[in-house]
């Protein structure tokens, strides 16, 4: 921290008081305008998407109203539609994914940046990024043929034997279900979080590390200080991963069992919003059916917004705490 009282990572505008700023040149005005216009473009696109989706869901909204959010039946033949099991499936599978992936990814990133020798770090980082290169469909296929049988035969039985009294581990473990879905999501979002956290950690100015070392900190203590500095960036990386998990379709729909039900057991099948849209959209004929699916898309938008907002609030509160200790 220097005498302007501003930390790295905060936007430029906070830097200097207005009256000591040099006048804005006209090129600056154009520059600011262009950048703002680009940003506005994304807002326009989202508004257009909401308009198109909103229009498509109107029929369903009129028909079911708010009850849609709490309905638990999904029966296209009878024309009864409810979104609750899908919301549940989306949220739970994404939470499982982030709970597994975030610490894992941050651990990998810390290892690569702070602890591994340079020659080792480069190839390993490369390998981790390759996980992001594998298409969704392939993850799904691998999950069916390798992951699910492995979990069913090796992991689930001891889990059920020891923790089967908890509602989370009841039921018949077939390998196809909520937990497997969350696990494959975790694998898919790990490279994303790792890559971004790596860049964040590398971007923390070397002065921070040097200052800590000069004060006699150990390597691990230095790392902690670096992490504290990069906290909000790391949180951003995790949100990136969370977003990916919420919207992931192909891999999840091949392994989660696609059963619209709310069940506490992690072994039971579940259903996510993205999966049901992918599964049924191309085949949906009939206006109400189509409209219900489009409304699911709208709900996904809203769920994503809410989850993102919650995550940000969480970061903000964590950020305040670390600021006090820094």
């Amino acid at each position: 921290m220097d005498n302007t009282g501003r930390q790295d990572g905060q936007p430029l505008e906070d830097a200097s008081p207005r009256n000591s700023r040099r006048r804005f040149s006209s090129s600056d005005k154009i520059y600011r305008f262009l950048l703002t216009a680009c940003a506005a473009l994304i807002i326009v696109v989202v508004l257009a998407m909401i308009a198109v989706i909103g229009q498509g869901s109107w029929l369903s909204i009129k028909e079911f109203g708010f009850g849609f959010l709490f309905g638990q039946t999904w029966d296209p033949i009878k024309g009864e539609f409810g979104a609750l099991p899908f919301i549940y499936g989306t949220v739970v599978s994404s939470v499982i994914a982030v709970v597994i992936a975030a610490p894992l990814s941050i651990g990998v990133a810390v290892f690569l940046v702070e602890q591994a020798p340079r020659s080792l770090a480069r190839p390993i980082a490369f390998l981790v990024e390759m996980l992001a290169a594998i298409p969704s469909v392939v993850y799904g296929l691998w999950a069916i043929f390798v992951l699910a049988p492995f979990l069913r035969q090796v992991v689930f039985p001891p889990l059920q034997a020891s923790l089967g009294w908890l509602p989370f581990f009841k039921g018949t473990p077939t390998g196809i279900g909520m937990f497997t879905g969350g696990l494959i999501l975790a694998i898919m979002i790990t490279p994303i979080i790792t890559a971004v956290v790596r860049d964040i950690l590398e971007a923390v100015p070397v002065t921070q590390r040097e200052a800590a070392l000069a004060l006699g900190a150990t390597k691990w203590e230095t790392s902690r200080i670096v992490l504290a500095n990069a906290a909000s960036g790391i949180a951003g990386a995790v949100i990136l991963g969370l977003g990916r998990a919420i919207g992931e379709t192909m891999a999840v729909t091949m392994i989660i069992g696609n059963r619209p039900q709310i069940s506490a057991s992690l072994f039971d099948p579940a259903y996510t919003i993205a999966s049901v849209i992918a599964n049924e959209f191309t085949e949906a004929t009939g206006d109400l059916y189509l409209s219900a699916l489009v409304e699911m898309g709208l709900i996904l938008f809203v769920v994503t917004f809410i989850v993102t907002a919650l995550a940000k609030l969480l970061i903000l509160s964590v950020g305040r705490k670390t600021q006090h200790t820094a």
Partner: protein
């Protein structure tokens, strides 16, 4: 002096401005290749790829593309006129036909079968199922493999005392439509509780995505049973169940028995050829069979495209049938070839039939 970055950005900007769709058009007057788009049923995809390739070898200026996006997708896109022909396992409903911008004709081009496949240790002969047992399984009323109803269908076979898990389709599909159509015909309880359609709400079971999803899950998970198109079970060397038909015989799904089901129902087939041939009443008829339809507008706006489509379809229901067997499709019975031909003759441009042969 411009920095490397600036040069890069400027040349990039030029590139963006240059890539103008009208400079690079493939649609307007590009040689004399006739380009046709079709889409729909995933089930017919292997055969359709064979057909368009063979036909393209015969007539090198004809380029037909077929994408398997699902029967419902085929119906949707033909209604939007983004494709020139569609393919669907299940015929279009009256409501769908009404909402189309023009009259759409259904032309049956091949036959397929939905089969029951399962994963059960220690059983070496194909299992037998009666319609009631099948309904009870999928309704969730049979939960163990050694249930008395299963034992009754398979006297002399010892079945293990294991829990039975159902696998069904989670995505909308013609296969589900055919299967639930069969169940609705044979089980009043099913008809009332679930009904028939491309996306039924199954009372029990795991949902797999696509035929391959169900096949994969059944193959990998012990004690499961599911329904898939014949080719998937055979190609994956999985057991195929024998099903009791209306005449009381247990039938193995295959070319003869599926074509038989179609032949037996010819007389009940209405003029517009949209018919369900499940639960057919023949001695040798396989009860869960179905046509695959090509959907095409009766009135073709483009004469050349229309002519090509007519020729292609005529070739398909005649010469094209022989390519079906090695891919596990069943050929149309002769009588249906005649009727489909008559339908093709109705396709016209400006009121004039495009049929040349």
């Amino acid at each position: 002096m411009l920095s490397g970055r600036t040069k890069f950005a400027l040349s990039f900007l030029c590139l963006v401005l240059l890539i103008n769709p009208s400079c690079f058009s493939g649609r307007r007057g590009k040689g004399d290749a006739i380009k046709i788009q079709g889409a729909g049923s995933t089930f017919i995809n292997p055969l359709m790829q064979k057909w368009v390739s063979e036909y393209g070898n015969l007539y090198s200026n004809v380029r037909i593309d077929y994408q398997s996006i699902g029967s419902g997708g085929g119906i949707k896109q033909i209604k939007e006129r983004t494709i020139q022909f569609g393919a669907s396992d299940a015929p279009m409903s009256d409501a769908d036909l009404k909402s189309a911008p023009g009259e759409i004709i259904h032309i049956p081009v091949i036959l397929g079968a939905v089969v029951l496949t399962y994963n059960l240790e220690g059983v070496d002969r194909p299992l037998r199922f009666s319609p009631d047992t099948i309904a009870d399984i999928f309704l969730g009323k049979i939960t163990r493999w050694d249930d008395e109803r299963l034992l009754a269908d398979n006297p002399g076979t010892s079945l293990p005392s294991e829990p039975l898990t159902v696998v069904h389709r989670s995505d909308g599909s013609g296969t589900s439509a055919i299967f639930t159509n069969y169940l609705s015909k044979t089980s009043p309880e099913w008809k009332e509780k679930v009904g028939e359609g491309t996306s039924p709400s199954f009372p029990v079971g795991l949902g797999g995505k696509g035929n391959e999803g169900v096949t994969g899950q059944v193959k990998q998970t012990p004690n499961t049973i599911g329904y898939v198109e014949l080719a998937y079970a055979l190609k994956n060397k999985m057991p195929v169940a024998e099903i009791k038909n209306r005449s009381g015989n247990y039938i193995v799904p295959g070319f003869a028995t599926v074509t038989n089901a179609a032949a037996e129902t010819i007389n009940e087939t209405p003029e517009h050829l949209r018919v369900s041939i499940t639960d057919a009443a023949g001695e040798n008829a396989y009860p869960i069979s179905s046509y695959v339809y090509v959907l095409i507008y009766k009135d073709q706006p483009d004469e050349v495209v229309g002519q090509t489509l007519v020729d292609f379809l005529t070739w398909g229901i005649n010469d094209g049938q022989r390519f079906g067997e090695s891919l596990y499709y069943s050929p149309l019975p002769q009588e249906m070839v005649k009727r489909a031909s008559a339908k093709i003759a109705l396709i016209s441009h400006d009121g004039r039939s495009l049929r040349t042969q």
